[in-house]
Amino acid sequence: MTQTDIIALLAAAVILPFLAAPVSFVVPRFLASIVCAASSALSFAAIFAASVGYTMDGKQAFSRDLVSVHGIAIFGFTVDRISVLIGFAAGLVGLLVCLYSVGYMALGNREHPEVGKPRYFFFMQVFVSAMAGLVFSSTISGQLFFYEATGVCSWGLIAYYDSPKAIAAGTKALIVEHIGSLGLYFAAAMFFVSAGGFSLSALGGMGPGAKTAIILGILFAAWGKSAQFPLHIWLPDAMEAPTPVSAYLHAGSMVNIGVFMYARALLAAGNVPHVVGAIGAIAATFTLVYAFFLYLPQLDLKKLLVYSTITQLASIFLALSLSTFGSILAFDGGVAHIFNHAFAKSLFFLVAGCLSFTTGTRMMPKLHGLLAEMPLVAIGFGTAALAIAGVPPMNLFFSHFAMLAGGFQASRAYWPLLILVGISILEAVGTFGWFLIKFGDAVPGPASPAVAGATALPVTMAVAVAALVTLTLASGAFAAAWMG
């Protein structure tokens, strides 16, 4: 497969869902969900084919500019190991979530019994498109563009149920993410001033001052998108969204944009000034501890998952930041963790969705004994919980280990970093304990009344959950091997 073919495929992956999105408004309601699933499937198929092509070509990284004004590249695609990996995950999770939505947005849903409105599927597809665009973007302007686009999709989907709370939550998400994007605006502007263009590859050739300013700008934007303290406040409220949205946007892909952009910047920058790493690492550690602390009072399963997402992302930030102190392993581990976390956390959210679909509640005190009543959901719950707890053979173990190993590596240069790594290990223990308790509460034993009265699960939802269980079990070694 030539590079042009790969680029064409990726362009198709971006454009197809975008073109298909307005169709949701035209076709009858029951078809909209099918269209959505189909277009996301096509998009994923394109990404998949491109990934295969890329692998067959011996993983030759390359970039190609697509849109230029006056010879300045505004947008283009970069195909390399991190973009293909994360693009693959985003596409696949997108496909599974769209599939899941077919079953979820239905009258049988006990929490929100309604057939999905066209705008749900519209935003979903636009998001699929924007996500692909962002991940493969080779320019900072492209990133900014899609960053904002995903923010709008997030807003539209969070506010989907139109309740005052949902609308407020959507507004908050949009604004807070936009505040984050200011960093990206700034970084992009700095970028242009320093490099005279927007191609991220130019970052490597810049002076340390410009590099620092640009990466810090990107880091700030990343905090906004990845819900890091103090810009995390939108994410817990965003749980007003339909659960597939939470799974996709707030666990599987959108929140990963932040860390991904940071990773992309670090990769492009090559030698990064240590101050960036230090700021990133300290902030990440703080978020890590803070969000862990907030596990404790959560009764709503989705809320718990939110804080867990925040800590997971924080640990990726930590690893990526530490990688600037000279640890490639931390970087690889961090990126692999993005990949793995996408599957595991999406799975967990989809399980939460299954629970609210079948039982009408997400409150953990009401959910016991899943294994007795709904084995698949229970297995999903267990797999996801143990994955987040960092237990092998679930995927997060692999990347988490690599991140910690990288952290240790980095601390060779500056021993105080070991303190941060130590804190993150303690947090990992705490997370492990907490999710083990939740697992023990929810999965085994006799079914609680809410669980005993559960309705049946639609096939599409079951398929999505089963697929994600498999992925959660299998993706760890794959990601590690890919990154290495």
Binding site: H70, F145, E148, P164, G170, I175, L182, Y185, F186, A189
Partner: protein, 504 residues
């Protein structure tokens, strides 16, 4: 006969014909609409031809070089006519509702359309003028011709707004005259032919030999004077009143076309001053006014509850941003400002027209009353929603691009801190818009308001504008890019541009 003259005559004739229809009795409405629509359509076509010529790197002159179109002028001419055309089409749909509701009589209708075309005529004069004093005259004429558009409903508040509008603007613009006269007097002293000293193109050519002290003082007068018309803080006070009281399409015209015309005058003077005094001086003044306008208008936006006043403050904010862009200078800054001028015009026309639909639907502009637009009038709701987001700087729409360019220019100019502050203000603006969306467009609909969108004539212009906004947001069309880059060269007075603007 030059195209320019044809354009102006078309508009003038349309205006007179529209006034004349008041004596047609029952036929008034149909006749005036026909006259109006054909007039603005012809104007649009001619403008297209003019811009086509300008794209061939040609500078058109007319009436003994008193009128001319260069790339810079072409951009603003295009804005005036395109906005005028779309707002004109929208007017037809919108004003019919006023007729139905009995807000106005058919006689008033012909007055409205007459002033509409006259207003456009005045604005075209302003952007086409090469004569410094005629620029002033035209700007003054725009005020006079639009006062009745503001006061057309004859309500207590609309009369008040009209009065404030005319008093503040005449006071302000009169100050501008001093600036103009100072420039002329100074140029006259330097240049051989007094007839040339009044021409902008000629003065530009001799700008380097003018007296810096005089010219800088002149620029202060120009900036404060025409700045009043642009709506820069603290001279913007007429703007929210006038914009909110005028019929929605007229508001669109005021906001999206008129402000730009005055801005063009400032830019033309700034170009001279840059030559004479050096670029630092005008840039600093523009930046100060621009930044202040952005900041103050943003805070007003945050508390405003009247949708049209909110949009008016947004105009102040955006004009501030454009001014800031010019102030930041450099090729990027100027290009960003020009692009933003285009983007703001499109977006603001769209929003003002959209707010017209709100008024049609709810009979009020109070956002505390307007609820659930999306449910009641889905198409208008969606378009307004998208329009607000676009105006807030969300991609893939156009405003995003120019805001981003402005920030880039700021960073490049070494004003990173100012850009951060600006970005924070822009976020507040976005937040306020989103608040409007979530409060008034989303959510449950109130009982007692009929469902359904207003007529297609009120929707089509919105859709067209939205399409244009999306187009520019996704990819700025080649001709626009070319115009902007040529205009940038003119503003920065690069040698090539100077040579090109030399008349016959």
């Amino acid at each position: 006969m030059s195209l320019i003259v044809v354009l102006l005559l078309t508009l003038l004739t349309t205006s007179l014909a529209a006034f004349a229809t008041r004596w047609l009795g029952l036929w008034t409405q149909r006749a005036v609409e026909t006259v109006h629509l054909s007039g603005i359509t012809i104007a649009l076509v001619i403008t297209g031809a003019i811009i086509g010529r300008v794209l061939q790197h040609e500078t058109l002159f007319a009436v003994g070089r008193w009128l001319f179109v260069d790339a810079l002028g072409a951009i603003f001419l295009g804005l005036v006519v395109v906005v005028g055309f779309l707002a004109g089409v929208y007017s037809v749909g919108y004003i019919r509702y006023d007729l139905i509701k009995g807000e106005i009589t058919p006689t008033v209708l012909s007055t409205y359309y007459g002033f509409f075309s006259l207003f456009m005529f005045a604005m075209c004069c302003a952007v086409l003028s090469n004569n410094l004093v005629m620029m002033w005259v035209s700007i003054e004429a725009t005020t006079l011709s639009s006062v009745f558009l503001v006061g057309i409903y004859g309500r207590r508040t609309s009369l008040e707004a009209a009065w404030k509008y005319i008093v503040i603007c005449t006071v302000g613009v009169a100050l501008g005259l001093y600036g103009t006269v100072l420039v002329f007097a100074n140029a006259n002293a330097v240049m051989a032919r007094p007839g040339d000293a009044i021409l902008w193109t000629e003065v530009m050519g001799h700008a380097k030999s003018l007296d810096p002290a005089t010219i800088s003082m002149a620029f202060v007068f120009v900036l404060v004077g025409f700045g009043t018309k642009v709506g820069l803080f603290p001279m913007h006070t007429w703007l929210p009143d006038a914009h909110s009281e005028a019929p929605s399409p007229a508001s669109a015209l005021l906001s999206a076309a008129l402000l730009n015309c005055a801005l063009l005058v400032i830019i033309r003077h700034a170009a001279i001053v840059s030559q004479t005094v050096g670029p630092e001086f005008p840039r600093r003044l523009l930046m100060i006014f621009g930044a202040l306008s952005v900041g103050v208008a943003t805070l007003f936006i945050a508390v405003e509850r009247d949708v049209k006043r909110l949009l008016a403050y947004s105009s102040v904010e955006n004009m501030g941003l454009i001014t800031l862009g010019f102030g930041l200078g450099g090729p990027i800054g100027v290009a960003a400002a020009l692009l933003h001028a285009i983007n703001h015009s499109l977006a603001k026309t769209m929003l003002f027209c959209g707010s017209g639909n709100i008024v049609v639907k709810y009979g009020t502009r109070d956002l505390r009353v307007v609820k659930g637009m999306l449910r009641l009038a889905p198409l208008s709701g969606v378009m307004l929603l998208v329009g607000f987001l676009a105006m807030g700087g969300i991609p893939p729409f156009n405003v995003f691009v120019s805001e981003f360019l402005t920030v880039t220019a700021g960073v490049k100019a070494g004003y990173a801190w100012l850009m951060v502050v600006c970005l924070i203000f822009l976020t507040i603006v976005l937040a306020s818009f989103v608040r409007v969306i979530s409060g008034s467009i989303l959510g449950p609909a109130p009982a007692g308001v009929a469902r359904g969108d207003p007529s297609a004539l009120t929707l089509a212009p919105l859709a067209v504008l939205l399409g244009l906004m999306l187009l520019i947001g996704l990819h700025v069309p080649g001709p626009v890019v070319q115009l902007i880059s040529d205009a940038t060269a003119t503003v920065l007075a690069t040698p090539a541009a100077m040579a090109a603007s030399k008349g016959p």
